[in-house]
Amino acid sequence: MFNDLRRSIIRLPFGASVAATLAAGVLLAALPRRTVEPLRAAYARCVEPGRMAASRARETVQSTLQKWREHAASAEELAVLAKQVEQLTARNRELEAAVSRSTPVADATKSTNELPPLVSVDLLPAPVLGRHACSVLATDEIIRGGRDRALARDAIVLAGTTTTIDGGADAEVAAGDVALAGRRVFGRVVEVGPHTSTVRRADQPGYRDVVQIVSADGASSGQAVRGVLEGTGEPLARVRRVSAQSPVVVGDCVTTVDQQGLSPRPLVYGRVARVERATGAPQWDIWVDLAADSEPPERLLVLRARMNPARVAAATPDDNANYDHSAVADPEERQ
């Protein structure tokens, strides 16, 4: 390797060559720093590309090593996660087994304590039909819907109107707040046909319903006064059978009786417009300004009650379970 170099150097004795190099070194050491600065600068310029390449190579190697470490860490994490999945799967199986063991007990508890209600109540939107017929039959309204939609006689009919109030989120009105402007009682279904039903307005003669009168300041139902609302054919309906001892004032609300079970809250008929009592009479004559307009809206809501199919479905297994199979067993065997 060094034969060329050896041949290129002037042949000198060993001692002379050593002395020459040492002398060169001492001479360089004796030079002032300012003199050798250009040499240092030139060396720095020569080495700079190599240093940059080396630093890039080092960064590449370090990033590659980092990737390998991350890959190894990911593999370890994957193994840990796989182990966790196995544990959770086993735990899931245990819980499923526990649930399957406890299901009969839960069903039994549900059958006794958490049965769905037997009667479900919903509102059926029903457009008003037969404007011309209504004008002929002044007392009744015809709506679309009859037995085919599970309507029955005496079903309560509500005026299905919507009202826009001047207030929203800026007035801290939230969804679920009760709006007392709607759900006014319009009348009752008096006849049910195959496809249509006839609704009698609350102000028409022949209309009767048990109502309660609650004070306008929102007193509880414990202070409510009950009576019978009758249609008179006049704009004002009449409430009778209210004891004169009961406190009734103009402006009190007339609502349905909340114990009917069809609605969680009483439905509004209207407000007391006039309170009269003949001298010595034991009862009030109360005149009610109905909240629903005498002219029917384009659509009514029918409050209908039906047998809850969920209750029927829930009760069937228990009935089967409680069914005494021995009762239908072979009579000879029973004997």
Binding site: D4, S8, S17, A53
Partner: protein, 174 residues
């Protein structure tokens, strides 16, 4: 000429490697002196020169010493003197050193590197350069010598294996 070019390129690469790897290979603020190891290899990885002829190991070591001075920022010329002196000793001990197996060569590298570093330290001290406390500097010299010696084992193995493989190749061709 090819060998000369290879020597210069090797010196350049070793100087860059010493600078680039100094941060990666730090042990107690000491890193191996690759240039010193390169000087030793350049002195020993060649056939012995005939007696009375110029020993190029001294010249090559002086050049590596110059690069060492430029690379380390020390006083220029100190490394030239230190590397030349050790190379002169090596030239005298060359035949014995070449007969050593790689492990013993590795062990012999430590005192040689320690001698180079001590001479550089002494030269800088004489030249008035600021050097750390003597005990700390000597401790650093010991660590550098041990570290350089440790990493030289595979290199000495390769250096011993190359001529041997050449001899085997010649024998097979013969």
């Amino acid at each position: 000429m090819t060998s000369l070019l290879a020597f210069f390129c090797g010196t350049y690469l070793v100087a860059i490697a010493e600078t680039a790897l100094a941060g990666c290979m730090n042990i107690r603020s000491a890193s191996p002196s690759l240039l010193a190891l390169w000087a030793l290899i350049s002195c020993l990885a060649r056939p012995a020169a005939p007696r009375g002829a110029v020993q190029p190991g001294v010249v090559t070591a002086a050049f590596v010493g110059l690069i060492f001075d430029l690379n380390s920022g020390g006083h220029l010329g100190v490394g030239v003197v230190a590397f030349s002196a050790v190379a002169a000793v090596l030239d005298q001990l060359g035949p014995r050193f070449r007969r050593l197996d790689p492990l013993l060569r590795t062990l012999a590298t430590a005192p040689l590197v320690a001698a180079i570093m001590s001479l550089v330290l002494l030269g800088n001290l004489i030249a008035g350069e600021s050097v750390p406390a003597l005990s700390h500097a000597l401790w650093n010299v010991a660590i550098i010598a041990a570290y350089t010696s440790a990493i030289s084992l595979p290199i000495w193995m390769c250096v011993g294996w190359l001529p041997q493989s050449k001899r085997v190749g010649h024998a097979l061709r013969a």
